[in-house]
Amino acid sequence: MATASATSVFPLRRGATAAWRHVDLALLFSSVAIAGMGVLMVFSATESKLREQGFDPHMYLKRQSVWVVLGLAVMVVMFSVDYRVLRDIAPFIFAGAFFLLVLVLSPIGSSTRGAQAWFQFGSFQLEPSEWAKLALIICVSAYCATHRGDLDGRRLLTVIGLAAVPMALIYLQPDLGTDLVFGAILIGVLVVAGARPRHIAAICLVAIVGMLAVVQLGVLKQYQVDRLTAFANPTNDPQHSAYNLAQAKAAIGSGGLFGKGLFKGTQTNLSFVPEQQTDFIFTVVGEELGFVGAFTLLALFAVVVWRTWRTATLARDLFGTLLCVGILAMFVFQIFENVGMTMGIMPITGIPLPFMSYGGSSTVANFAAVGLVLNVHMRRFA
């Protein structure tokens, strides 16, 4: 009971009511600010297209707003219950995620653009892989926290095996981008959980070799390879990936220092950038709000990441720390990959930008993740 002395020093900060007073407002506000900016950008990206096609131009605006509100609700739920409960039910969470990932591959799941990744409920979609990320973070953190200081080779392999199951299922969808996020989460948690440096090095090596093998050995479909390598060979472009990338860069670059103004992006309004409300949402920020807007967005992301990192350092137990690290790894990888992709320094993969990209599952799951971090933060003394 290493925590016993701490509780006696700060007797007033015990109990549920006390925990509410330790909500990390910086994290809360910055994530809500990003989501608000996201709603606006989604609106700007879709308004002219919807109007042109005869739909309600506010359709995406309304829907994304609903997701944000729903996300906030889920966030509240996620920090209301002590996060340590999750540690106890981790096996069930894992089983639940496994079940949904299998189910989505069955005929019950729906496929869009070649990936069998959704459940369709009326006009709404549920994407289990977004939730599987959280499930992985919880389960891996729980396992590593249980075996703290004792992550030998066998246990390491167990963790990797644990992660490999959902990764394999997601690969079958196929959704390579989400698999990469899983990899980032896994490595992030293992580094902080105390895996030996040579083990980490070995995992990284295997991951790199594995990725190369996947690209080289024809395991991937050709269009996936082309997409991944388009940023390196813009001339080989059967899927117009390089064209898309060029348009994305033109959108961001043409924004300049102050941008063209909200709703005034020509690249945006004239549909030159593909998937703009989802994967390429950053180009709207870049074009319409310029360097100032894009910098502000990255700064807000930095605040989210910083507060998450800080919570990891403050957490009262290793499980809390690892939860935060996993979430941090998820956010950082997605931000870097998504923003880097639109600017041509990372391969093109279908990874959403947290809180910004249009989509219910990712928005709600991200708020759930923030809820977990807030949870760890406000229970750091109890």
């Binding site: 105390g194 670059g253 043409s254 220092l257 690249q267 894009a294 992301f301 870097f336 880097g340 320094i345």
Partner: protein
């Protein structure tokens, strides 16, 4: 250690995260600040399409302002191959049905490589309004099909002056390369021949430039502004519509008449496949008419000529109707050249009117016998008489004399010919002018030295001079050169650059730029030279023994005296080339008329009647149909 270790490792995580954010910021800075101008340009070219629509060309007017080449607006159906795309197999038959055309014709139009890929292809013109409305109302059945108003060239007088006026076609690679600076683009129209080509810069206007905003699919969202088209300037010609008509009609009649006549020497009818007429004002070199036969209807070039028609126009069997024979045809001048020989002999003082030759029908020079073309004997003749009756023997003698006395006179005949502008381009503002050729000892030697095989004979003999004196041998001239030479004589010695453009005007008729007459040189033709030649040429039409007396029988000489010269040129194995050049009224020459007809017989028989009809009309008299003047003499 257990507690310290996560802290340390969280530090590593922090460093990694900060590096990644730094990388993103650096890249963002590069894209949005350092490289922003370049991307701004890229984003702009993305969304803006510039559409050029050619301006209507300027019109071509005759000297009285009557429109020879006009524009008209026609309702046309055009097809964008790109927009029709993969549905063409289904759309083309449907379109053909609506347009009352064969599907194959529509298909041929669309697959015609001569159309620019950048512009919609006109499939049909003069389409009824209802058809265009029908297509518009059923647009989804006709992707890429639209009705537009096209401005196209219109020729109110059909084939009149076709070769001289020229035609307009789509710019080709060579022309594009040469005219890039003037803003031509692929698919643009450009004058290909005649006036259309020479005055291209004036006739072509400034295109309408419309900047359109388009989306990523190329759909037009709106206009960003239009610079309106400026129509090209009008070109007024020196040519007179009535005289041009008269010349073409008369030439056509003359050729017809020749074809109906029998050529005794070749024992068949004359073929008379082609000919040309030039009418020039000797006072300033203005061309009043320039006719070339066979001819063609330039409207077949509008909106792109059909390939089979173009092939037919260039088929040797069609006798090259696109050629402007007045400046591209090169003929031996025959006896019409005796003007030059006479000017040389009188001008150099080698002879005067007292110098006579006894024309017994032939003459022996060296060991060669030269005959009069018709074999008749003319008795003792001086230069006046020799011109009137076209005594070859007299001019053979002069040719020989010049050769014998070449140390004194040099190449006097050739020099005189060149002074008159024969054997080189006149410089008229029309394309593809031929130069003709005046041979002399030096040029023959040069040709031989350069290419002994093609020119086995490098030596010049007395016989060459003898032939030269009557316009035979290797000498060739164009009909325009010949007419211009007679114009020089008629006006007393001024060599003009023949002029076909008179001025450039705007649409309201205000003159922007005159095309001034240009004199090349002034020859000195003193009365002792001029008078006997004029007398001889007057005799050609008026003297009972004049070579053209038959053709000009009954001509109103009293009010409109006419002088002239017939010519009958041998052309290898072909039938004789028939030539006549005349001018009038000789009291104050206003018109020089030259007629050259291929394989049509004696100048007196075929060409002179054509010239007579033209001159008679110019004299203000009613005209009669041209008839072949039978009998006559070769000159």
């Amino acid at each position: 250690m257990a507690l310290e270790s996560p802290r340390l490792r969280l530090g590593i995580v922090a460093i990694v995260v900060v590096s990644l954010f730094a990388a993103l910021l650096a890249r963002l800075w590069y894209l949005q600040v350092l490289a922003a101008p370049q991307y701004r340009v890229q984003a702009n070219t993305n969304r803006v399409r510039t559409i050029y629509t050619e301006a209507p060309r300027g019109r071509i007017l005759d000297r009285q302002g009557r429109i020879l080449v006009d524009n008209r607006v026609t309702d046309a159906v055009v097809v964008s191959r790109e927009e029709m795309g993969s549905r063409s197999a289904e759309v083309i038959p449907r379109l053909a049905q609506v347009l009352n055309m064969q599907a194959s014709d529509v298909q041929n139009r669309l697959s015609d490589k001569r159309y620019s890929p950048f512009k919609p292809i006109p499939v049909a013109t003069d389409v009824p309004k209802e058809t265009i409305i029908f297509i518009r109302e059923h647009q989804s059945d006709f992707p890429g099909v639209s009705g537009v108003q096209l401005t196209e060239r219109y020729y109110p007088y059909g084939s009149l002056g076709a070769q001289m006026l020229g035609w307009v076609g789509e710019i080709n690679g060579t022309e594009l390369a040469a005219n890039k600076k003037k803003g031509y683009k692929e698919g643009d129209s450009i004058g290909k021949s005649g006036i259309e080509k020479v005055y291209e810069d004036d006739l072509r206007g400034q295109p309408q430039i419309e900047r359109l905003e388009v989306d990523s699919k190329g759909r037009v969202l709106g206009s960003l502004g239009t610079t309106p088209a400026v129509q090209g300037h009008d070109v007024q010609l020196t040519v007179d519509l009535d005289i041009q008509k008269l010349a073409e009609e008369s030439l056509q009649q003359g050729l017809q008449a020749a074809r109906g006549s029998y050529d005794k020497s070749q024992a068949k009818h004359f073929i008379a496949p082609a000919g040309s007429v030039v009418v020039e004002d000797p006072r300033d070199g203005s061309i009043l008419a320039m006719a070339s036969n066979p001819t063609y209807d330039p409207s077949i070039f509008v909106n792109g000529i059909k390939p089979e028609l173009f092939a037919q126009l260039n088929d040797p069997g069609s006798n090259y109707p696109l050629n402007e024979r007045a400046i591209q045809g090169q003929y031996a001048p025959g006896s019409t050249f005796k003007l030059a020989t006479s000017l040389a002999a009188l001008g150099d003082g080698m002879i005067d009117t007292k110098y006579t030759v006894d024309d017994g029908g032939s003459i022996k020079i060296g060991n060669q016998k030269f005959r009069n073309a018709g074999g008749e004997a003319n008795g003792r003749v001086n230069v006046v008489r020799a011109l009137t009756v076209s005594s070859d023997v007299f001019f053979y003698t002069l040719g020989n004399q010049f050769w014998v006395q070449r140390s004194q006179y040099g190449d006097a005949i050739q020099n005189e010919a060149r002074q008159l502008g024969l054997g080189k381009k006149t410089g008229i503002a029309l394309p593809f002018e031929a130069s003709g050729r005046i041979p002399d000892p030096d040029s023959r030697k040069k040709l031989h030295d350069q290419n002994p095989k093609a020119y086995p004979n490098g030596q010049w003999y007395a016989g060459d001079n003898v032939n030269l004196a009557i316009g035979q041998g290797e000498m060739t001239v164009t009909p325009l050169q010949l007419v211009n030479a007679y114009a020089t004589f008629a006006n007393g010695g001024t060599v003009w650059t023949p002029r076909v453009g008179d001025s450039i005007k705007d649409q309201t008729g205000v003159q922007l730029r005159p095309v001034a007459p240009q004199s090349v040189r002034k020859l000195d033709i003193p009365p002792q030279v001029y008078d006997p030649i004029m007398q001889g040429l007057l005799g050609v039409t008026q003297d009972p023994r004049g070579t053209a007396a038959g053709a000009f029988a009954g001509f109103p000489f009293s009010s409109f005296p006419v002088a002239g010269k017939t010519g009958t040129a041998q052309a290898g194995n072909k039938q004789d080339t028939s030539l006549f050049v005349g001018f009038g009224p000789t009291t104050d020459p206003q018109y020089v008329v030259g007629v050259v007809m291929e394989e049509a017989g004696f100048g007196a028989s075929a060409a002179a009647p054509v010239a007579r009809r033209i001159l008679e009309s110019l004299a203000g008299k009613p005209t009669r149909p041209v008839s072949y003047a039978p009998g006559g003499s070769p000159d």
